[in-house]
Amino acid sequence: MTTAEKKAQGIEPALRARDLTKVYRTGEVEVHALRGVSLDLYPADLVALLGPSGSGKSTLLNILGGLDQASSGESWFNGQLVSKLDDRALTRYRREHVGFVFQFYNLIPSLTASENVALVTEIAPHPMPADDALRLVGLEERLNHFPAQLSGGEQQRVAIARAIAKQPELLLCDEPTGALDSQTGVLVLEAIERIHAELGTTTVLITHNAVIADMADRVLVMGDGQIVEERENPERRRARDLRW
């Protein structure tokens, strides 16, 4: 179902943002990272956020994920006003609803793959078994390996398993292939694609690589803190067909 169809059927957006701005003050310089961003993300959307460095993609993702607060504007998740939550409530929001994947995997080196995932399943309300999550990203053979014993692509897939093990409604991926070569990157994207298909998680994928945006339902192009273009991909390309 396309976004337009979801809208037409009267499905409420899972995530709604209106006029988000973000101003950083570094010393005497003001940086306008976001200049009034509004968007709706519908359940089971796979959206690519495309744009050059410094266009505000990560800032937007951090605000949507409850890692950062907007200077003005509002955002709602399932009807709940996220932009006004305090630190404690934001922690609960991340804990219960949001999964993150970063460019640098940020695994805990002292925990095995399976334990890194269990880190999340232990505190989430409705998690899947940690090993199932790892199976979803094709790492059932590497459960008891420590991060130092895994390749970059494998580490990133552990990070994805960790993000989705709680069965989040929202999966936010910030340049998940940024540190990987294209072949390994494809494996990681396939994992994201498979999870999106099997779990129906609303997924936002940040990339500055236009090729990767082809695997999304919808592409939001950012520039200078604003969404400068929004388009629907008439046909999603399979991750395994992507080359860059």
Binding site: L67, D68, T91, F104, N106, L107, P109, S110, L119, Q155
Partner: protein, 787 residues
């Protein structure tokens, strides 16, 4: 300023918390060392100057009664520069508003002009005038203890006659820096005081007209006192001379020198501990700094900076931190030293105080801590040199962890992930963990050895006073009395039982060793004043030989079965061969005992005594004291209860200041170690903790990982610290062995508990401070950068 130096100043500022923590530990070491050294220096310089200015004699001695003209014969001996003869006697005093007996030591001073030796430092009023036999000068601490000032009056029994004396002045004397009464262990200014009166007045009072019973001799510079002492002893043998002795054996000086020696021991052991910890902390901080600065180091190398230049940069950092510590330590050491010296000056009465610490103490402390800090830098500089520029520019790969056998245990499987993180971190760097625990343990150890002093004192009191002595009053006679004198006392109202003692002044020789010693004659089986071994049993005296303390055995290098030569210095002055029949261990003094009948036989005299121990009924005690004071033969009265109180107070007073310093220092130590460990963990693991926050962990949950590590290290430190304290206490109780005291090795459970409590408190404070930093953990910045 070169860019590297600018980086240095900014690094120092950036790490100010850790810099201060390390500097504080260095400062502690410098402060303790410079305090101990400057106090020792001040005490010894003050004593030296006091002795010099007030012409403290080199040789001292007593006789029964010698005609005045003998003074001129002594003066003619080669090497003698000056001679002062005096009348010195003890007597009972009666002081208004103080019911207990007070003993006065009366010493004569010339009515005209000043004495050649042992000058008085007049503190108030004036000296007695000729023709006014009732004028007296009191020792200042004694007058202060009783609130007496010039113009006041007091009563004394001089040779059996009540005399009313007028206080005309207050003074101090180099002879009585440490004022200790007969039979006492500690100065007690309320119960013992020195009173100076005109020579003619005292000669009249004690029937010594034209004679003296005490003398002091000053020697020409550099003279050996031994030959002079021998000649004086020959000269005075027929006048009841009990043997001249040199300054080193003069009671007050002996105590003072003992104290200075103890201080020196203290300054050689404890600061070493602090400096060792400072070196370790410097190493820890710098080591982690390098890990954090890998990229910068690689960059500098890529630009062409040499290993030497970069190494020097980190050495400079250490030097800067050490300098901050040294300056702080100097300031603290100066003030502590001054405060400490003042306490000593209060205790040992000096008319002036020379606290002008030379640069030596401070330079030594600075040098030692600088070396310690630089030692802590060596491995860091080596690590910098070993870092290849290319390698340094790449992010380090994730730390290698392995599943240990422990991980497979069911117990481990039951643990949650944060606990696993915590345990694996500790297990990954066991040495580092152990060293951190060691640092915290060191703080506990320092506290244990500080508080252990109080345990030791209590143990000494328990054994020496409470277990061994069942008498409550000890009566001393000025002269030897027939054994019947005991019966007279036993018949007095309020006396429950009595036990006689006779003390005889002797010289004991074995091989080339010689000791002046009072041999105490006591019943074979004592019921009041026991010859008591530290093991807790009374020693019965076998007939016909000496029972000596092990410390005396060491001084003489003699053991059980050896035959000693005993030269008696009173009565008929016989010299006899006496075997050692038993030895026993004591904490206080170096006594020698003999069965009283055997001692009297050795003297060739009829049964005689000069001391009686009494057990009295508290109900009648006040009346008994009043009566005892009236007995002319009684020259001293000692109360056990007062002795215990004085002993405890004196020890506590001189120890308390040290103990409180050490509590502060140990707190600093514990804080410094845990604060640094916490900050370093935070900087190394900030990324991990931020990741957990992103994953939805609360601040409390990630605090558990950070503080749990500190907690676990502290937990390991507790038994470790107790073991360190135990070993150090053992070391110190061995090091503080003097002729006067052997510090017992005794640590009560309370001491362990209190030490642990203080360190846990300091650790909790530092953990709290580190925890505050979690509030400012920047989630986004941490995640956007690579490691």
């Amino acid at each position: 300023m070169s860019p590297l130096n600018r980086k240095l100043t900014r690094d120092l500022w950036k790490m100010r918390g850790q810099v201060i923590a390390v500097a504080a530990v260095i400062a502690s070491g410098v402060a303790v060392l410079s305090m101990s050294l400057s106090t020792t220096e001040a005490l010894s310089e003050t004593a030296h100057a006091y002795y010099e200015r007030y012409r403290f004699a080199h040789i001292f001695g007593r006789v029964q009664r010698a005609p005045e003209h003998l003074a001129d014969r002594i003066r003619l001996l080669p090497g003698v520069q000056a001679v002062t003869t005096r009348v010195v006697k003890t007597a009972i005093l009666d002081i208004a508003d103080f019911s207990e007996p007070v003993i006065g030591q009366f010493a004569s001073i010339p009515e005209r002009g000043e004495p050649e030796l042992n000058l008085l430092a007049l503190r108030a009023g004036r000296l007695p005038q000729a023709g006014r036999p009732d004028e007296a000068v009191l020792s200042e601490p004694f007058a202060e203890a009783h609130g007496l000032v010039p113009g006041d009056r007091l009563r004394a029994i001089l040779n059996g006659h009540w005399r009313e004396l007028e206080v005309v002045g207050l003074a101090l004397s180099p002879e009585y820096v440490y004022t200790i009464g007969p039979g006492a262990l500690m100065p007690d200014d309320r119960r013992f005081g020195v009173i100076w009166m005109g020579r003619e007045a005292l000669q009249g009072a004690f029937d010594l007209d034209g004679a003296f019973n005490d003398f002091s001799v000053g020697l020409l510079r550099g003279m050996d006192p031994e030959p002079v002492i021998r000649q004086i002893d020959e000269l005075l043998a027929n006048y009841g001379g009990t043997g001249a002795y040199e300054r080193a054996n003069q009671l007050s000086n002996w105590f003072l020198m003992n104290e200075i020696r103890q201080l020196k021991t203290m300054s050689s052991i404890l600061p070493v501990l602090f400096l060792a910890v400072a070196a370790f902390l410097t190493n820890m901080v710098l080591g982690r700094l390098i890990t954090v600065e890998r990229a910068e180091i690689g960059l500098l190398k890529a630009f062409g900076y040499s290993n030497f230049e970069i190494g020097l940069h980190y050495v400079k950092l250490t030097v800067a931190i050490a300098c901050i510590g040294i300056v702080l330590g100097w300031i603290a050491g100066y003030w502590f030293g001054l405060a400490n010296t003042r306490v000593y000056a209060e205790f040992y009465r000096f008319p002036f105080l020379l606290y002008e610490p030379g640069p030596n103490a401070f330079m030594l402390a600075a040098g030692a801590s600088m070396i310690a800090a630089l030692l802590g830098t060596i491995s860091t500089v080596q690590a910098v040199a070993a870092l290849p520029p290319g390698e340094a520019m790449r992010p380090p790969s994730p730390t290698m962890f392995r599943r240990s056998g422990l991980s497979k245990l069911a117990l481990f499987q039951a643990l949650d992930q944060p606990t696993r993180i915590l345990l694996r971190q500790l297990g990954r760097w066991p040495l580092r963990s152990l060293v951190t625990s060691g640092g915290i343990g060191m703080a506990i150890g320092v506290l244990i050895i500080s508080f252990q002093w109080l345990d030791a004192i209590n143990r000494m009191i328990d054994v020496y006073f409470l277990q061994a002595q069942h008498n409550d009053v000890t009566v001393g006679f000025g002269e030897v009395r027939p054994a019947s004198a005991e019966l007279a006392l036993a018949g007095m109202t309020g006396v429950i039982t009595t036990e006689p003692m006779r003390a005889v002044a002797t010289k004991i020789r074995f091989g080339s060793r010689e000791e002046r010693k009072l041999i105490q004659g006591v019943p074979a089986r004592q019921n009041l004043h026991h010859v008591f071994d530290v093991d807790g049993h009374a020693v019965d005296l076998p007939p016909g030989g000496l029972v000596i303390s092990t410390i005396l055995g060491e001084l003489l290098d003699a053991g059980t079965g050896d035959i000693l030569t005993v030269e008696v210095l009173e009565g008929r002055r016989p010299t006899r061969q006496v075997p050692i029949v038993a030895m026993f261990e004591t904490y206080i003094g170096s006594p020698a005992y003999m069965e009283i009948a055997a001692l009297n036989r050795l003297m060739g005299e009829a049964p005689a005594i000069n001391t009686v121990h009494l057990r009295t009924d508290p109900l009648y005690r006040a009346a008994l004291f009043r009566k005892l004071k009236e007995i002319p033969a009684v020259s001293s009265l000692n109360l056990k209860e007062a002795a215990v109180t004085t002993f405890r107070d004196t020890m506590a007073e001189s120890m308390l200041i040290f103990i409180s310093f050490f509590v502060v220092f140990a707190g600093t130590l514990a804080f410094g170690v845990t604060y640094n460990a916490g900050r370093i963990t935070l900087s190394e693991r900030g990324r991990e903790l931020a990741t957990l926050r992103v994953l939805g962990f609360t601040r409390a949950e990630i605090s558990y990982i950070l503080l749990g590590e500190i907690g676990a290290l502290t937990l390991v430190a507790l038994p470790l610290g107790c073991a360190i304290g135990y070993s150090l206490a053992l070391l110190i109780s061995g090091a503080f062995k003097t002729e006067l005291f052997r510090v017992p090795f005794a640590i009560l459970p309370d001491t362990y508990g209190l030490s642990i409590l203080i360190v846990v408190g300091a650790t909790a404070v530092s953990a709290f401070v580190v925890r505050q930093r979690l509030e400012h953990l920047d989630l986004i910045a941490v995640l956007k950068t690579r490691e």
